[in-house]
Symmetry: C2
Subunit: 245 residues, 2 copies
């Protein structure tokens, strides 16, 4: 048995999310189906760095699996992609140590969130960026960002449905990239809670609209209650960009 | 009655083309349906600068229609877009002269054709660029281009199904834009025949692969027979970019 580490990119639009669910089209489900075909019907389980929700995209999701198939390196991608639907693409397959684990060995992740500020909707971006055409006070957002950097208990920025106990995470980078009629948030951290990036974006947009003041951020964090942060930004603007090991 | 000139953008992926066809989802059909709703059920016909095929996109298709509705300029876009599906967007509606005609008054058009050269498919581009990962001899394509510029009978570069009699058209610009792992063709001309851009691209790619020599272009034009030109490149890489009046 050899363990393999894989990088996968997917357009989340037509998936009910990453994780297998009965009778739903999922990324994990499609990949495991393709691996089973490649292994003559034998079930092959994959383990990813984490889940992504319905509609959320990935540029560089990582998963691992074990196989005793003798496929030369460089041919795995072709073999898998030929069986996968065209909204999923295996970017890279490489040999990993026997104990490599896509989730437990992840040191950090980068997420990006794309916002389109055109007044008239762009049909080509409808699944790939959140159309938000209200005025945004960029300076206010840049004042709020430092309060979120570093290690915090992010309970206020986590879906109330989450069952994770320890909600302390460290954000090492939050960057706001400005383009013409577009805005991108980059978040780098050692781990992210359920809906955390979407709630961070929703809250920072509320800062940008003046609904929340930058100096409110510390007390929102202190409250440790989801109700005090801003809205959850829509799924389709979000991309799992990279997983760091 | 007031005549209006409109610019419309659409993602062609889920359309059976621009022009109305019975029992098919078309761009014209969707726009006329929305106009009818806006006119309390009264039929409103639109006339575009030309058709686009199934899967072909538009950034700046132009059409006109007549209406006696008293909607303030600047509100037409909002009114129509609120009723249109999200793969079509009315970019601009402006008053036009009574005899303005989107097709007959068009002086020229610009089409763009996007090619993705990544070896592994990009799930985000699958409907928006033609994945062509063979080596391309750019110099050969740039040598072929001048033979296509100017006024020619483009019968060889027109679908044999076309019923247009006069196949003389003038191409004023053909430009090849190179990016990392991507290639874009720009075509500007006074008119384009059925499948003309897709056959031009297919032929230029055959020049790039060495299958056709740049110096073969004049004789392909002279033959006035579709069979001598290259393949028809796929629809999903093609965008009607702009119509000039």
């Amino acid at each position: 048995m050899q363990r393999y580490k894989c990088i996968v990119s997917y357009d989340g639009t037509q998936f009910a999310g990453y994780q297998v669910q009965p009778n739903k089209r999922t990324v994990q489900g499609e990949i495991e189906k393709s691996l089973a075909k490649l292994h003559k019907g034998q079930e092959v389980k994959i383990s990813a760095s984490g889940r992504t929700d319905a509609g959320v995209h990935a540029r560089g999701q990582v998963f691992h699996f074990d196989s005793s198939l003798d496929i030369p390196l460089g041919k795995w991608e072709v073999a898998l992609n030929s069986m996968l639907p065209d909204d999923v693409a295996i970017i890279c397959v490489e040999k990993a140590e026997r104990d490599f684990h896509a989730r437990f060995d992840a040191q950090g992740k980068e997420y990006r969130y794309f916002i389109s500020q055109t007044h008239i909707r762009d049909p080509f971006k409808r699944h790939f960026a959140y159309k938000y055409s209200y005025p945004i006070n960029i300076q206010a957002i840049n004042e709020a960002i430092p309060f979120l950097l570093g290690e915090h208990d992010f309970t206020s920025f986590c879906s109330a449905k989450s069952e994770v106990e320890n909600k302390v995470r460290e954000l090492s980078e939050i960057e706001l990239l400005l383009e013409e009629e577009a805005l991108t948030f980059r978040f780098v951290g050692n781990g992210f809670l359920y809906n955390m990036v979407r709630i961070l974006v929703g809250t920072l947009l509320d800062v940008g609209s003046g609904e929340i003041s930058p100096s409110d951020i510390p007390s929102i964090l202190e409250k440790k209650d989801r109700i005090f942060a801003g809205k959850t930004a829509p799924a389709h603007g979000l991309y799992l960009w990279e997983v760091h090991y």
